[in-house]
């Protein structure tokens, strides 16, 4: 299971999904990449059928929002959506594509 790359503030320790220029908590410029475990809870998703031009080849694809156990909320995509999937499902990061976390439901 790949980790998800987020930003960690070196001054106050706050985590953020990024990208950001300043820590939104303490305004420090010292943000560094941190790897957190790709396990979390699926909040919601939708299937994009009419994609922006640069994403056309990928459509249809599912964009999702996940609360990682590490305490960061991230936007990513779902690997697959089956009829039984519900908000609240446990998901884990299965792959990274161009920096975007691709999640799949835990068996």
């Amino acid at each position: 299971m790949p980790d998800v790359s987020v930003l960690k503030c070196r001054k106050c320790g706050a985590l953020d999904a990024g990208p950001r220029l300043l820590c939104p908590n303490c305004r420090s410029r010292a943000l560094e990449a941190a790897q957190v475990e790709g396990k979390g809870t699926l909040l919601s998703w939708t299937i994009i059928r009419r994609a922006p031009a640069k994403m056309k080849a990928l459509a249809p694809y599912a964009v999702c929002v996940v609360d990682l156990e590490a305490g960061v909320r991230v936007t990513g995509r779902l690997q697959a959506v089956d009829a039984a999937l519900r908000p609240g499902a446990r998901v884990r990061c299965a792959a990274l594509e161009g920096g975007v976390a691709i999640f799949s439901a835990e068996a």
Binding site: S44, T46, A51, V74, V100
Partner: protein
Amino acid sequence: MRSVSVAGIGSTAFGRLPNMPIEALAVEAAATGLEDARIDQREIGALYLGNFISGPLTGQEVLAGIVGDNLGLPNVPCTKVEGACASGGIAFRHAVLAIATGQCDAALVVGVEKMTHATTPDVTAALNCAMDNRADGVSGLTFPGLFGIAWRVHTQRYGTNREQVSAVVMKNKRNGLKNPLAQMGANLTAEQIAASALICDPLQLYDCCPASDGAAALVLVASDRLDRKDRVDVAATVQTRGAARIAGHPDLCSFDATVQAARRAYEQSGLSPKDIDFVELHDCFSIAEVIDSEDLGIAPRGKGAVYAAEGRTAVGGEIPINPSGGLLAKGHPVGATGVGQLYEATLQLRGKHPNQVQGAAIGLTHNLGGTGVACTVNILKRSDA
């Protein structure tokens, strides 16, 4: 702070207007507004123009100056403001502030957008400028996608179903039939809506507002300068900022920018949701009306769709929402929408609306931009209310 009133209003139709370039739309609406206000253009002390994407879609910027020049305004500040779909509401607030703080006695507000000449991919790309592209853009999120995600949470938490949300679509499309400015009023059945193409689950085609051309304008003046029997006063105007990215929202089916703007607008006006006679709110998607009505305190949390299904938000219901047809039926020329809502609200308060809410004395407008990053809430009232 001085009291501010609406002295005049003007609007083009919203829809497909191939023969009107963007500056012609803006000038037409503004000229009509000046005529309605019976004011000489040389009395205007400031122009605020709301527009979102004239650059990418028409190749034209400095619109505020161009419109001021065409109208023969004196050498006064002409300013374009941008806040995605909330651009029009923001322009209005700046004009109110200019008069309230004594910078000038009369100001012109214009909102305009030109979209229907462009291809769908070009429009989609331009609209996506309203996203934090480094954050949400890379995931492939779109604006319908944002609201598909919100809808799923609403269903999970409150049990909101397709039929209840369709009641919003049917109501607004039906209201649009009575509004001569509306782009696509219609009598739709729940079956037709449920059979329309899936766009972003659970969002379907009829849940989405169209792309539109159009402009609207308001002439604002210091209240003590206006001798007009059907005077409409600004009771509150508030602008807020919310999260710039979807993962920044603490709740995926509520917009904090709306909640905060509404709270402050009620405070500023000394009014509460039960004092409001009608609402023009930002129904860019059907589920947006549901969420907005809850965020504004008009419907109890989780009951927005139920309220529509029970007919409470119809004209003649206890709190009519979008008697104009809203964005779903009237259309959504992005930068014009917020000003268009205030145009509709003024007509209601003058008692001259083609879909009149009986006895309307106080109206609220709500304009939301981007992923909830910019919001304005305004309250207008009849001067005798």
